[in-house]
Symmetry: C2
Subunit: 226 residues, 2 copies
DNA sequence: TGATTTAATTCTAAAATAAACAAAAAGCAT
DNA sequence: ATGCTTTTTGTTTATTTTAGAATTAAATCA
């Protein structure tokens, strides 16, 4: 049962989601080599021998976005023998939510990547491997998570308005929400800190700013404790 | 990024849960060889090159219980470099719910197993590897699932009483439920078929028998469609 | 046989939660 | 000052959940 057989390759791919220009977007990299040369793919790479799966995903995330300490959850492990055209590669997929301001996309020169870019999830290009399926599943999971814990705060700046928060929910859930009920529900949860600041209204009435309060997360299992 | 490196071993372990003697139990096997010789462990084995992860889990399940076509869902992939004392073994864990009547436990002779047995989840022996953690996580996941879809029907015989159904819920959720409200809720879901049969009452008033109706499942993702 | 016990079942009221809905307030532009 | 746009707030209604009380059917016991 536990004899020595080295047969599979194990990678991790990370679905990194953000909100940018009022759109839900995913970070993709363009592949420099075959297979799928020139195609867009999820950032990913081999899991190294001395690191945990979580650490591998965190490393990939840091390489591409230079962010740390964010919401990162194991999504699903995809192991169809035919998902990679050349060999048997099993990938343990993760997904992360980050705020895209104050983030500079980067990748090392001479790697197997020629470009890094945000893509709207509702207009994805042709993707390498089964990465389209992975992204779609991550969206489904994100929706499920959102109904339990307010992970949307990972997508927003430190200070935000309730309208911005609602917009994030609407983008992920893909449906309109009632403004009054949304506000009422969130205020009753007592996880928002009401600030004495307001938006410097470009025009229109200024909106009060809030920040999330008392939220820590166990990114390994995707559950919150407040 | 996708160079050829064969470094990890990939296994699957299956948490098989059932209800037996009014207890929630998990199927364990006793290991014949090192590491953890003589210790109890989850049934598991290597993922073969031409099979999907799901197929590997189904194969393991069939080898030990000879059941097929049941609820089987990918649980989580455990990849701590130190989880196996000898080499780097990543395991993709699954969990399954089955009814234990009309099931004969079996294992092939001359394998690495000396015994197969049901163990109450609230009184587990010392387990090999990180299998205790895997079982605990499967219980947590099962509880979460139960709040959405009635997977408890996998644990019950074809015909059952509402009290038996409730007992299954109480065992998994580890809390008492209100009899009237439990009944009301389930009947309103319209997934039960009311039979014209009753328990041959050992004593007390006979209870009506029900069967589940119109339930199919997508075991790959753990979601139901009715 | 009839009273008692146990569990199943039904009915109903109260409480809590979610959904639906409209009007006033604050800044900016003209 | 008026009009425009966006934020902010409260009430009512429907739905779901929880809780209380009573009835029914069979088994046991006096």
């Amino acid at each position: 049962m536990f004899k020595e057989t080295k047969t599979h390759e194990v990678t991790t791919d990370v679905v990194i989601l953000t909100i940018k220009d009022a759109k839900l977007k995913v970070l993709l990299v363009k592949r420099a080599h075959e297979p799928f040369k020139g195609k867009w793919a999820l950032p990913g790479g081999y899991v190294r021998l001395p690191e945990t799966l979580d650490d591998a995903a965190l490393r990939i995330l840091k390489e591409k976005t230079n962010v740390q300490n964010i919401y990162l959850e194991q999504l699903y492990t995809f192991g169809d023998p035919l998902r990679h055209p050349n060999s048997r590669v099993i990938t343990c997929a993760y997904f992360a939510l980050i705020r895209s301001d104050d983030i500079v996309l980067s990748f090392e020169e001479n790697t197997e990547i020629t470009e890094v870019k945000w893509h709207p999830v509702d207009a994805l290009p042709a993707l390498a491997f089964d990465h389209k399926e992975i992204i779609e599943y991550s969206l489904k999971r994100t929706r499920e998570r959102l109904e339990f814990c307010p992970i949307a705060f990972q997508l927003l700046p430190q200070k935000f308005t309730l309208t911005e928060l609602q917009k994030a929910y609407e983008l992920i859930l893909m449906k309109k929400l009632d403004k009054r009920n949304f506000r009422k529900k969130f205020l009753s949860l007592a996880i928002l800190k009401e600030l004495d600041e307001y938006t410097k209204s470009g025009s229109k009435r200024p909106a009060r700013l809030y920040s999330f309060d008392k939220i820590t997360l166990d990114s390994k299992r995707g559950h919150f404790f407040s």
